[in-house]
Symmetry: C2
Subunit: 358 residues, 2 copies
Amino acid sequence: MSSDSADEFETIKRLFAPLATSADARGLADDAALIDGRHVVTTDAIVEGVHFLSDDPIATVAMKALRVNVSDLIAKGAQPRAALLTLIWPNARPAEQIELFAESFGGDLAYFGMTLLGGDTTSTAGPLTISVTAFGEPLSERTPSRADAKIGDDVWLVGGEIGSAWLGLQLRTGAMALEEVTRGRDEQEARVNTAALAGQTPDYLTLPGKPFDAEAAWLMSTYLAPFVRPECADIVSRYANASMDVSDGLVGDAGKLAAASGAALKIEANAIPFSIPAERWAFSGGDFRKLITAGDDYVVLFTAPAAARAELESLPGAGALRLTRIGAVEAGEGVQVVNRQGDVIPIPAPSYAHKLGR
Amino acid sequence: MSSDSADEFETIKRLFAPLATSADARGLADDAALIDGRHVVTTDAIVEGVHFLSDDPIATVAMKALRVNVSDLIAKGAQPRAALLTLIWPNARPAEQIELFAESFGGDLAYFGMTLLGGDTTSTAGPLTISVTAFGEPLSERTPSRADAKIGDDVWLVGGEIGSAWLGLQLRTGAMALEEVTRGRDEQEARVNTAALAGQTPDYLTLPGKPFDAEAAWLMSTYLAPFVRPECADIVSRYANASMDVSDGLVGDAGKLAAASGAALKIEANAIPFSIPAERWAFSGGDFRKLITAGDDYVVLFTAPAAARAELESLPGAGALRLTRIGAVEAGEGVQVVNRQGDVIPIPAPSYAHKLGR
């Protein structure tokens, strides 16, 4: 059972956990549940104005609705198989967009090898709201929960980079100008990328009143429709003790894993896999703590025995999947982010509460 | 895949059916899907202002959210087992109500022998929206779809009465006064019932500015939280060729079953099980066609071979479950409602589009 903020999470857990009388529900403390131990099931909703902006393209909204669920399946070491779609459509939104939604959702289902099992549609006077329930097939006998980190485990990220989606969101909302996000950029390199991609991307990846910029387009695309990589499920299923997806900020989500496991996570700031633009932004005056507490990363955080380290590091494709060891599980509680000298970096607000708006 | 209106249903079916590449999805033409043939799964959302009123008690909203899904499981001959709950909570609604919601939802889960598997919570600037995915265990090898009615089958209803929820909604919204709904009532009998129940029901079952009225309370309660009876699943699993729940109006839903089965349904108006107040209302000047085209009945419509008729009629508990033969499956298409003389009664708007508001 997931929710938007840490406080709310505690309330929900307290109120609803007694209703979860089956072991398959994992006390609602996990991102997914089991059915008969043979299927992994997860459900996540996205709401206009909370998880996406009203003028986000309907095609990427459809992708996001599915992918935030696929992300949970991957983090449980499961192969995505099927989905139920509940589409709560505003009276005021053009009905023609439903067709674009269906086309895009269908394309994504096909990409992930999933089938649509059923769903529900209804109208609303409120925001567009999309609830997806996704089913996956566990790739091994054991489906890792958040609660199984062992002291001495390494802490890993796999599937992508941290902070890009947050920078993309800043660009989308206009909270940061392109010049601020790309401060310190090598103009020569920027021109090469841009020339290669210009004209090949949808209009919504160009900022209003600006020429096309490949880096901005890429950052915005990671916010609009997170890249989630089913190949990571195999790594999780083979190596993870504990695992979850990072969707509400690395530090906050690491804190949830630490709490569920009854242990502490120490994360080395310099080991975190930032994207090139995110790292440059942080080294050009940006506060890197924004990147590790922001939402929408949709990568996998897992812990694995230190004995598996060499094997993990030599996995084929590890680089492409950005498989990165970022810390260790220790006795204690909470999350510490440390610098190269081992000093603790204070993090004022570790988690991201989904409350969009400009 | 269900939706609010016939037109919308066709659009959704056309757009999304190609995504349902598994036989388990039944082409999205059914109320539920299968997982591995071993689980029945259904998902239905209810939206404030569409499926319930803003001032409906949060306790009954919780029940309705679960029961509209349980209704689908029962109609597929499945024993309810588990649910996922997605709660999209308005920023403006008091957070204290979440506790009442959880308590009521939990009570209903326990009543139906179900466990909460997981879910999601998020905030919204819009209406309260609740999406539930429910899982059931098929009671027999075969899970009846809408599409398996055979020419010559009897048409049955089981689980409750038609039209009461619509009358209850009229009372809740003030669209009809108590005096209009109870026109022709025997005052002596009304007083007896009312005396027995007064003081034992929640405040919201008393109409504003009126003394408690047992009949009004009962009608409103059928709208607020439909009575769904899991015992019906056993009957469905043993006898039904085709089956579905009646949620959007008897005639409209019968039309969906007829269309899916490639046959016609003839329904005898005088055989339809109306409640005492609904029947009295119709015989006192009300238009009975309102009752058979209104939503929120949540009973089961099924077809069964005529050879099973005697056995069905002699089932223990058939009376309490209001098991009633209401017509026959014939060659052709569509639904005909006929009177005692066999004359077709024209039905202008066979289905109920969920658009509440007062």
